[in-house]
């Protein structure tokens, strides 16, 4: 996609070395080569559309760069070839297409004839006089030109001859080529046009453009009225001041309610956490008290057992005492062991 050398102010082959293709001059979609999925896909799609629109037997691509369009067209069986000013571009083309490419300027005379000449994003790189020559050369070898040239990309440094599409179209018209308004080439660029050699009387030409004009005008009128409608709706909404204040108050009220609800949730959470802590405190206390209870019960049982055995002994002694009393008394009965024990048990008060 590069152009010319002779006229003053044009670009030269050295402007299109490796860095031109690597540094995003072409839209920065990665490596500009057949191996890059994005670019290959783009040119395959373009080739599909071109075949569908024009079904050309032969195609010449002027300013073919690395020949990707040529390659895509050939893959679809079209006898396509192309040339480019940049020897770098041609040298680094894919091996499958290289033999169908050559290095040349678009100002040079062309041989043969073609069903279609494509010239995509090329002439804006050329000086004005060279561009005119290039148009002549193309018109000499075909009746059908697919033409695209950025009308407003002034940032790209090699775009030295940028023109509006209307200017290009009138230059082709001077050579008997007119725009086919029945085809849409926006798959390629928004400004691409298909130009065909035709003997058109003024009447047919007017009809062709009037149809287009009517269509665009209808769309414009419809959009203007839709815009006005939207503008009125916005104004109406803005004028509903009081209603929106009410809404705002409602939002504030709801916000306060949400805050209140979250607050309640928070305090509930605290109660749950606190109650759980209390429960485990009580559970621990319960375990401690249960242990104490078991210990106390054991103590109680021991004391009871002691008490029981003491009672047994007391009863035993009481019975022996009874027996001793019931036997006939001896003269002076000395205090028996049992009597002494009973005394001791009863507290020795007597």
């Amino acid at each position: 996609m590069s152009g010319e050398t002779r006229g003053t102010g044009g670009t030269i082959a050295e402007d299109y070395t490796a860095s031109y293709y690597q540094e995003g001059h072409l839209g920065g979609e990665g490596d500009y080569s057949w191996d890059d999925g994005h670019w290959r896909g783009f040119f395959e799609m373009a080739a599909d559309r071109i075949v569908a629109l024009a079904n050309p037997a032969s195609v010449l691509d002027v300013g073919a760069a690395k020949g990707m369009l040529v390659q895509a067209l050939r893959a679809k069986g079209v006898d396509a070839r192309g040339f480019d000013l940049s020897d770098h571009a041609v040298a680094t083309a894919h091996p499958d297409v290289r033999e169908h490419l050559w290095v040349a300027s678009a100002t040079e005379e062309l041989e043969g004839t073609y069903s279609l000449v494509t010239c995509i994003e090329v002439l804006e790189h050329m000086a004005p006089a060279d561009a005119q020559t290039a148009i002549d050369r193309m018109c000499a070898v075909t009746d059908l030109v697919l033409f695209s040239s950025s009308p407003d990309d002034h940032a790209e440094p090699t775009h030295v001859g940028t023109r509006p599409t209307a200017t290009w179209a009138t230059w082709f018209a001077e050579r008997g080529f007119f725009r086919r308004v029945d085809v849409d080439l926006s798959f390629l660029t928004p400004w691409a046009v298909l130009l065909e050699r035709a003997e058109l009387p003024a009447r047919a030409l007017v009809q062709r453009y009037e149809q287009q004009y009517a269509q665009v005008n209808t769309e414009l009128v419809a959009k203007r009225s839709a815009l006005l409608e939207a503008h009125r709706e916005i104004s109406a909404l803005q004028q509903e001041g009081p209603a929106s204040a009410d809404l705002q108050a409602l939002v504030h009220k709801w916000e306060a309610e949400v805050l209140e609800a979250r607050h309640q949730l928070l305090t509930t959470r605290d109660h749950v956490v606190g109650t759980e802590a209390q429960v485990s405190q009580l559970a621990r206390e319960n375990v401690r008290l249960s242990r104490e209870l078991v210990r106390s019960r054991k103590q109680l049982a021991t004391v009871r057992a002691k008490l029981a055995s003491a009672r047994q002994r007391a009863n035993r002694l009481a019975r022996r005492l009874e027996r001793a009393r019931s036997t006939p008394a001896l003269a002076v009965p000395p205090p028996s062991v049992a009597q002494r024990a009973v005394r001791r048990l009863r507290g020795g008060s007597r």
């Binding site: 805050l259 979250r262 607050h263 928070l266 305090t267 509930t268 959470r269 605290d270 109660h271 749950v272 956490v273 606190g274 802590a277 209390q278 405190q281 621990r284």
Partner: protein
């Protein structure tokens, strides 16, 4: 000297380099005196110039097969010698003993008990004290429960450290280049992978204070503190904690300065009624100066200041707050009867930050970067709450962490003078505590919601104590941040009205506090001595020390 148990085998490792023979004999006696038999002892002689050292050990090894002497052929210093010992250990746990220090007779049995209680333990450390030339014991370090943040500030676990052999080998043993702080470096690396670290709350180690040894005077070994700083920095780097480590004000203490993620929104919540007071002889509106100082000392940009103000707050105060804080200010009116907890809850719910900072209005920020240092530790998921160093207007300590013990809720370091390092550096290093005052504290919003915020049944007192208990009940640590300093203009003499029902409410939830996990009293205030047997050996050796 008792029956064999079914517990683990302990491998005591002792690098030896030229100790006085009588000192070495004391150390050996303290090992032979263990009331548990399942140990082996690898003494690694690092080419001591005195043959008597090796002869002494050989003599004991001949009598007791559990004692082994490994003789190094070249002097390799502490790291190489310790690693030689590690290589020969066959026991399940390693015990690190220095050649001039003493174990208590129950040192190994106490560890065995806790290992039986916690089978997944990988690292145990215990309390320690020092012993002087006369056998007097002093400087007891009653250590806190496992405190990973504190270990970054100082090698507090130190002696006696008992580590699972397999874990020490897995992390690669002692590292060259960290001489003098190789034990700190190892403790940090082991703690990173340990399933559980357990504190043994008994003195099991007497550190002999000999002039020139590290225990008495770390100034004698400046390379050790540089190695320590590197060890802590490595540790933080390994954990992905963005922070810088510097030397602290005292040797062996390190200052950890964290970086706060700039994308984290922080909300400072301040309750106020807009009162004024006389501070340093000048009248000031407290909340305005609090906000002014906090903004001045904060470089973190995503900051929101939520001021919860009671109805009587003068409009002029709110106006000045707007001037000072600009669009960072969120004003939240509060028109119910005074309830600190409720005010804070309302403010925190209104706040939009992922991190909440609770701040009283009677403060003034002292330290640059206070907010960043206070908030950043909360990036560690098991840190649930952080607190600050609060000072009275004369610079003395008002708050440096709570302790809950003996039925009371205490401020352990209150009234310590400005410039004090605190016992064992407690005032100059970040450390874990049982609680912090909510006068300046920070929390993740998620934690706040999870625990239900401040308990509104506690409108005035103990709401922060309850908050701290709740945080710890979630399994999180509370970290006190030494580098976050503020004045807290609370009257030194103020008698707080504390009602019994308030204390009872906290107790009903959390029980009566008995012993604090982190602030523990020394076992006895009376002067203590070594057991008679060892003390005698010490006295006998006194004259020998002065022989040429």
């Amino acid at each position: 000297m008792t029956e064999s148990t079914s517990g683990p085998l302990f491998s005591i490792v002792t690098p030896v380099y030229d100790p006085p023979i009588d000192v070495l004999e004391d150390t050996i006696a303290s090992v032979l005196d263990q009331d548990l038999d399942d140990w082996e002892w690898i003494l690694v002689d690092d080419l001591s110039p005195t043959e008597a050292v090796r002869e002494t050990i050989r003599a004991h090894a001949a009598r007791d097969p559990r004692i082994r002497l490994h003789e190094r052929e070249v002097n390799g210093h502490i790291v190489a010698a310790s690693n030689d010992g590690l290589a020969q250990a066959t026991g399940e746990f390693l015990v690190f003993l220095d050649h001039d220090d003493l174990l208590t007779p129950d040192a190994l049995s106490r560890n065995a008990e806790l290992i039986a209680e916690h089978p997944e333990v990988d690292y145990l450390y215990s309390d320690e004290d020092k012993v002087d030339g006369d056998g007097r014991l002093y400087d007891e370090f009653a250590k806190p429960a496992w405190s990973p943040e504190r270990l970054r500030g100082q090698m507090y676990t130190s002696h006696l450290s008992v580590m699972r052999t397999e874990v020490v080998r897995r992390v690669g043993g002692f590292r060259h280049g960290y001489d003098g702080s190789q034990d700190h470096d190892l403790a940090l690396r082991v703690s990173e992978v340990a399933r559980r670290v357990v504190h043994v709350p008994h003195v099991l180690y007497h550190w002999r204070a000999v002039v020139g040894s590290a225990s008495a005077d770390i100034h004698a070994k400046p390379y050790a503190t540089i190695a320590g700083q590197n060890a802590v920095q490595d540790h933080l780097d390994r954990l992905g904690i963005p922070a810088e480590v510097e030397q602290g004000p005292a040797p062996g203490h390190y200052r950890v300065t964290r970086r706060l993620d700039p994308s984290v929104r922080v909300s400072v919540v301040i309750p106020t009624i807009g009162q004024s007071a006389l501070i340093w002889g000048a009248r000031r509106v407290m909340v305005v100066e609090a906000v002014r100082s906090l903004i001045e000392k904060t470089s973190h940009e995503d900051l929101e200041i939520v001021v919860v103000h009671d109805r009587p707050t003068p409009p002029a105060v709110l106006e000045r707050l707007r001037e000072v804080a600009g669009d960072r200010l969120v004003l939240q009116p509060f028109d119910k009867p005074f309830n600190y907890s409720e005010k804070m809850n309302v403010g925190c719910l209104r706040a939009s930050g992922e991190r909440l900072v609770f701040l009283n209005d009677d403060v003034e920020v002292i330290s640059e970067g206070w907010l960043e240092q206070l908030v950043a530790p909360l990036d560690e998921p098991d840190v649930g709450l952080t607190g600050a160093m609060l000072r009275f207007s004369d610079g003395s300590v008002q708050h440096a962490g709570h302790a809950y013990a003996g039925g009371h809720y205490l401020h352990p370091h209150i009234f310590e003078p400005s410039g004090s390092y605190g016992a064992f550096g407690a005032l100059v290093i970040n450390r874990e505590v049982s609680g912090v005052t909510a006068a300046c504290a920070a929390m993740r919003r998620g934690t706040f919601l999870e625990i239900g915020g401040f308990a509104e049944e506690l409108p005035a007192n103990f709401n922060d104590v309850d908050l701290c208990y709740k945080v710890r009940a979630t399994g999180c640590r509370i970290v006190w941040v030494a580098g976050c300093e503020l004045y807290h203009f609370e009257s030194r003499s103020r008698e707080r009205m504390v009602h019994d029902w308030e204390r009872d409410l906290v107790r009903s939830r959390w029980g009566v506090p008995r012993d604090d996990d982190y602030t523990r009293p020394a076992t006895s205030r009376r002067s203590r001595r070594l057991p008679a047997r060892l003390a005698l050996a010490q006295e006998q050796r006194q004259p020998e020390r002065h022989q040429p």
